[in-house]
Symmetry: C2
Subunit: 331 residues, 2 copies
């Protein structure tokens, strides 16, 4: 097996976030489940944009955010995802390549525009999302470059990829290439409703193909259809080599073999916007794993990255994460 | 004279900001004067965007930012400025109307795209700007709605309007309408280099047509071609009814008739990005003036608004300014 030249290859829905403040009554009026991601069509996205408050635009996408974090930590990364050849597509491409992440996926030249996620941040810092998948529906197995996946120590896949029709084929092709090359495959469960939409697929994947699993409490409970976190954590043990389960302010638990490591959340002066918390936690854990660091250290780096991202609006790091981690004495 | 139904009507270059972190050496390599605004053409904007770091997009424009601040304070506002009928133009329109500011200027349907300001924020929080004026060059006197200007207690003009070719005609038409209706005209000098480009125009305006002047230390010194702030402050006295002169962390001085009120800066835990500091200071002072508040209170509201804007990335307020001002006991 050749040495990996890429630490992490991420595959996801390539999305530009449109982030606005909103109050709880606005969420209720729009029919959104607070804290969740709802898929919306172009017409609903336009209507929602008309009604929502002033916004900022920032590149997003769960795996895109994670790869930006890996790069900011000093890791080498590649990203696969589908934008259109439009202005938002250029923005997405600029932002991820400017982080130093390789992004070679050809943009769609026809069809729907680059995906947008309309994010409503409530006064408590929680984010609720309406996603118009746009050009993401065009991602297919032809977009998976075997050279990239074969060269990556970990291929990281977001569960949201099961929403567009052909991306799951891309997902499966990538996982097969990675394993054939002796590499590891990581999955994030993304969202409890996403888990609900694709539970059978995810259960088969987790039991058979995933080496490293990321999930929050609601997602892992949804996967195993239980309301008891400990029961869900027990169920996942044995299915994957490593399960990193996040619990918001209560930190996280990393389960590997017979051990469970409890990781504290890093302190945050004020939670401004939780968008990207899970994505950046994954950045830290994946970076640590690819550097061969002990699991508690991987988790602590994840906590630190998550704390940075929730201290400001937007899901891409503002601070240089490598310096934060060095200041904290973690590397 | 009919009662004013609009507190402030702002006229400016309608711009979307593209904000990235950069270090001093990047500014030097790009040939930018730190802290200033440099006009760039489309090709240079594209080349700079390719080289700069990951960014966020946020509606901007000096007077646009000021109007967003006036609206957040609870004032009624209107905005006049030129976008194209493209995606960035839609973003600009959405963001200012979502604040509650009336924005009726027809977009250009041909010609260059909506203006972009590429903003480089250095680790000290200072911002340095490269502006591609795009569709702003199409703003002309035909875009000035006499009904809007006649109904506004104050018409606020940004000095940057003297950069595109026909906007100064719009500027002069608006000032004439405002004065004919018995209203006041305010001007921001915008930037010391902008003052250098248009010093004669600005000197005539300040001496003859401007009631309320906003300038920072470098701008007022550039206007009167002196290095001595006190000398510049003495020169402006008598030219305008009110001159609000900002001095960064040293606060501001508001000169009116024979009095000079010294206003303290509001405390900021960490200066993240100074973009919009002057614009939001103007929001506070203009809001206070239209509500008939004493000048020291107007200045204190300006300081508070400036402190909010420099505590985060971007030049549009994240917090509800009316609540901040109420919490501080200023209204």
């Amino acid at each position: 097996m050749a040495a990996a030249t890429i630490d992490v290859a991420g595959i996801g829905n390539a999305i530009v976030d449109v982030i606005a403040h909103a109050d709880e009554s606005f969420l209720a009026a729009e029919g959104f489940a607070k804290g969740a991601m709802t898929l919306i069509d172009a017409a609903r996205a336009d209507a929602l944009y008309d009604r929502m408050g002033p916004a900022i635009e920032s590149s997003g996408g769960s795996a895109g955010n994670t790869m930006a974090g890996v790069a900011s930590l000093g890791g080498t990364g590649a990203y696969i995802g589908k934008v259109r050849d439009d202005l938002l597509g250029e923005v997405f491409r600029h932002d991820i390549t400017a982080m130093g992440v390789a992004f070679q996926t050809a943009p769609a030249s026809t069809g729907p525009g680059t995906a947008r996620c309309l994010i409503l941040v409530t006064p408590d810092g929680q984010r609720t999302m309406g996603t118009y998948l746009g050009a993401c529906v065009d991602l297919g197995p032809e977009d998976i470059d075997p050279a990239v996946i074969g060269a990556a120590q970990v291929t990281y896949l977001e569960g949201y990829l099961f929403d567009p029709p052909r991306a799951k084929e891309a997902f499966r092709k990538a996982a097969a290439i990675a394993h054939a090359a002796g590499r590891q495959v990581a999955l994030s469960l993304s969202d409890p409703f996403c888990v609900g939409r694709h539970r059978d697929d995810f259960l088969h994947l987790v039991a058979g193909e995933i080496d490293i699993l990321f999930a929050n409490e609601a997602e892992i409970c949804s996967l195993y259809e239980t309301e008891d976190f400990d029961q869900a954590a027990a169920a996942v043990r044995g299915h994957v080599a490593i399960a990193a389960l996040t619990r918001s302010a209560a930190g996280s638990v990393i389960i590997a073999n017979d051990k469970a490591h409890t990781i504290a959340a890093a302190p945050v002066a004020r939670v401004v916007d939780t968008t990207g918390a899970g994505d950046l936690y994954a950045s830290g854990v994946l970076f640590g794993l690819t550097k061969g660091l002990p699991l508690p250290t991987c988790g602590a780096i994840g906590s630190l990255c998550a704390a940075e991202i929730i201290s400001h609006v937007g899901a891409r790091p503002e601070a240089a994460l490598d310096k934060l981690v060095a200041s904290a004495g973690l590397v």
